[in-house]
Symmetry: C2
């Protein structure tokens, strides 16, 4: 990296701080802003993800045994450069090829594609899983399709468990794509995030308004709905997800109740309770869940819910051990 702007400085300092805090899990590569596993794997499918920063702990905090081999960190809300991704891919390659796990945004997809071409000269076998779970952006005719949001954590967890168990690249990639098909997310916010260097939030909301169907970059949602109780708002997120996934009585799901940066653990726990109650009423079991702030949008006061239709192998993979800075379960 030739020169750094202000936002790059923040990211570099934060990645340095992460590696100083968790030297047993991760190492920082300052020349590429890649966070890699401290103990490099041997002859294992390497998992690489990345994207713009501002979503922490995603992705750098999810590097370690059982999850990512490398996370490539762009500036805040900006795709990493293809040269960074190339560097991360080389670091992650330990003899069994590399899987790119990419959230579906134009810049990320393009730069990961360019990086894939760059590393093909190195003889590194490569495959890509595009994560596009955001139901709010489904069917938009003017964009690249559904956005990638918190389902990427489940993809990284499942693919990480498979790779750790010795599965080959084709198997890990196929299961990753299958997890994406099984997953949908929806989000809402009570307040927008404030971009670094800005003094005002990305959009303004009245106290009695909720932005529904938001993404993770401060973009506007698909509609503005009246403020309601937590239970009612959670129902407005959960019902469309259950419908889109065609959930039926007796099925089980993996759920992520995800804080977007400004959500308090008390709020997330109240929301988790309501998701349990709503799905229980439909005869659907939450087999495993994550409740916390895993995919943030800076300081946005909001929450996303992700549901993944489970099967026995997915549940087993969820229970495989992981040792990363921010996910150990």
């Amino acid at each position: 990296m030739a020169s750094c702007d202000y936002a790059d400085d923040i990211i570099a300092e934060a990645l340095d701080g992460l590696a100083l805090t968790y030297p047993e899990h991760v190492s920082w590569h300052p020349e590429s802003n890649v966070i890699s596993r401290a103990n490099r794997a041997v002859n294992k499918v390497g998992l690489v993800s990345g994207g713009g920063s501002g979503h922490e702990p995603l992705h750098a905090g999810l590097v370690g045994t059982g999850m990512l081999d490398a996370a490539v960190c762009g500036a805040v809300f900006a795709s990493p450069k293809s040269e960074q991704i190339q560097a991360g891919t080389r670091i992650a390659h330990s003899g069994a090829g590399v899987l790119h796990i990419v959230k579906n945004y134009t810049g990320d997809v393009l730069n990961f594609e360019i990086a894939a071409e760059l590393v093909s000269d190195d003889g590194i076998g490569l495959d890509t899983v595009i994560v596009d779970d955001d139901l709010a952006s489904h069917g938009a005719s003017d964009g690249p399709g559904r956005r990638g949001t918190a389902a990427v954590v489940i993809v990284e967890k499942i693919c990480g468990a498979l790779a750790e168990s010795g599965a080959d690249l084709a198997t890990v990639a196929a299961r990753g794509r299958d997890v994406v098909l099984r997953s949908r997310s929806l989000a809402l916010a009570l307040d927008a995030c404030t971009h670094p260097g800005e003094s005002r939030p990305a959009f303004e909301l009245a106290a009695d308004e909720v932005e529904f169907g938001i993404g993770i970059h401060g973009e506007r949602g698909v509609s503005r709905i009246p403020f309601a109780s937590a239970d009612e708002l959670v129902e407005q997120l959960t019902t469309p997800l259950a419908g889109e996934l065609e959930l039926e009585r007796g099925q089980s799901v993996i759920a992520i109740i995800n804080g977007l940066g400004g959500a308090h653990p008390l709020e997330l726990a109240v929301i988790a309770r309501q998701v349990h109650r709503l799905l229980d009423a439909r005869g659907i079991v939450i087999a495993r869940s994550l409740v916390g702030s895993y995919v943030t949008s800076l300081d946005m006061h909001g929450v996303s819910i992700t549901l993944t239709v489970a099967d026995d192998q997915l549940v087993t993979a969820c229970d495989a051990p992981v040792r990363t800075p921010n996910l150990t379960r």
Copy 2:
């Protein structure tokens, strides 16, 4: 509990949600708002903490193997009632007595004292560790002394490891008191928290002001200082701590870089880096650290730093396994 007000409803729903999310770790007792270990220990010193809610994941998220046996949860920023603490103490008692770990606030100390008297009739051996680590409230002549803040997490971790290893009540209590003596904390905030049901923050700050020496209940700090770079602000927290603890070259510490609710992981990582650099320049090693939001003050946008003078036994105890909802390291 006879009747519940609005804040109690939130707490009960959140504790229900916590237990639904982590059934392998914790159980919720709705009659007392106690969170207990799912698998009750046998003939182990029981550890009980608690206090007002709004500080999550403290204390309910720190219940489980290797840490607390029970957390007693009051309303937001209000001490639990002595009857709740009595109930939690009975639940935590497995034959080897119970240790109360109490943050130093008048209401908490009083209600834990009353509960200790109530359970003495049950024949439960009981001891108490008062945690008073907040340097900002040191020497205040009109109050109960230094407030208890994030050092309580280290006390719970160290006492938890000792209790798990079979140490008796006197040993666990003595080590807990020793950890308190070795620990000091300082905090600052860029924005105050907003109490539930209120539309305005607990105090107002201009964009170029920082509240220094704040507590964890929205109370004002000891001074208002000019906004400065993260590195400069961290130095203003770290230098007084190092002085008060009389840290000398060659010593090592356990550190907590704690978000107060509205701090982003990027910010905490940048702060952690600077604490490493400042202590490194003094020849002091951070032997172990926690970086995250462990002791929050609702949505307060601030951070606290806690330093504990380490010795070999403390470092070993830090590495003992814990299995709780929100701390697994």
